[in-house]
Amino acid sequence: MTTKTLKASAVGSSILPAIFAVVLGLGIITVTGHVQASGLHDAAHDVRHATGFPCH
């Protein structure tokens, strides 16, 4: 079936985009949740507390 062929061809190429997205996602989480630069810390302060990140 056409869909099965498409899915099978997508499997081989699915890892690189997934790795890219995971790295991008973890990068965003690190910036919003962990980086201690004072401007960032103050802006994200309430969110870090409410979301359970170690804050200060």
């Binding site: 498409l6 699915s14 997934a18 997205a21 990068g27 965003i28 409410a50």
Partner: protein, 249 residues
């Protein structure tokens, strides 16, 4: 004519489609779940945080000469608009980060033949809640401002290791399918707490325990709702993006 400066081979159309599907689904799911979560936090978590800050700043003193009312006048919703707007933006960003990780893993799971939709996404969301929020919070409880805590760098290392261990554990429970993977998952879930999180040398927090407990409970409750929404949205958008990609292919 445009000069050809492309040294590397351009990405194949399939790879491009996969990247755009992951990014589109994650952005929609993260923004929607993040916005709802930010509003839930402003209603249910922020008042408790502002109450704690009155003790952190010394406006109220626990166990002072006089008993302190448990219901002081707190600033109302959006009394500090810039602070709340920043919180909304950072919550949406954080949940978009979570969504990128989750949708990427969903794409891998679908490649292995597992069904992804809004219903299965609910389970993904609850697993994500355990990995990113509940597992680290079990020993590093969500803290109100002003509590005594160990060095922030040490806690961040423990937090990151615990999230990684719990994330692998949730994947093994979902897709391992044999007794060995379940045992390994249980060990990964328990190990960080048996080793122990960094703890403060002394207790010096000025905030009443009632406020601290309520804050932790509210943070977990809103976090669980947030992740349930995020998982369902991610599953829904991933399925509809996949259907669209299949239709145009």
């Amino acid at each position: 004519m445009r000069p050809t400066m492309c040294a590397t081979r351009p990405a194949s159309p399939a790879t491009k489609t996969m990247i755009s599907r992951i990014l589109t689904s994650a952005l929609f799911a993260g923004a929607a779940a993040g916005l709802i979560t930010a509003l839930l936090q402003l209603v249910f978590v922020q008042p408790v945080l502002l109450h704690a800050e009155l003790y952190e700043g010394g406006d109220l003193v626990h166990f002072g000469a006089e008993a302190v009312s448990a219901h002081p006048d707190l600033p109302g919703m959006f009394a500090e608009p810039m602070r709340d707007i920043l919180s909304i933006i950072f919550t949406m960003l954080t949940y978009t980060g979570y969504a990128l990780v989750m949708v990427a893993l969903m794409s891998v799971a679908q490649g292995q033949g597992h069904e992804i939709n809004a219903r299965t996404g609910l389970l993904w969301g609850l697993a994500g809640f355990v990995a990113f929020h509940f597992a680290p919070g079990l020993s590093l409880a969500p803290e109100v401002p002003g509590v005594a805590a160990a060095d922030v760098g040490a806690r961040q290392i423990w937090w990151t290791a615990t999230v990684a261990a719990a994330g692998i554990a949730m994947w093994l429970i979902a897709f391992g399918g044999n007794i060995v993977s379940y045992v390994v998952a249980a060990m990964l879930l328990m190990a960080p707490h048996l080793i122990g999180a960094p703890e403060p040398a002394t207790f010096s927090g000025p905030v009443p325990t009632e406020i601290g407990a309520l804050f932790a409970a509210r943070a977990f409750g809103v976090g669980m709702a947030a992740w349930a929404l995020l998982g369902s949205f991610a599953g829904y958008f991933w399925q509809s993006e996949s259907a669209r990609a299949d239709a145009t292919a």
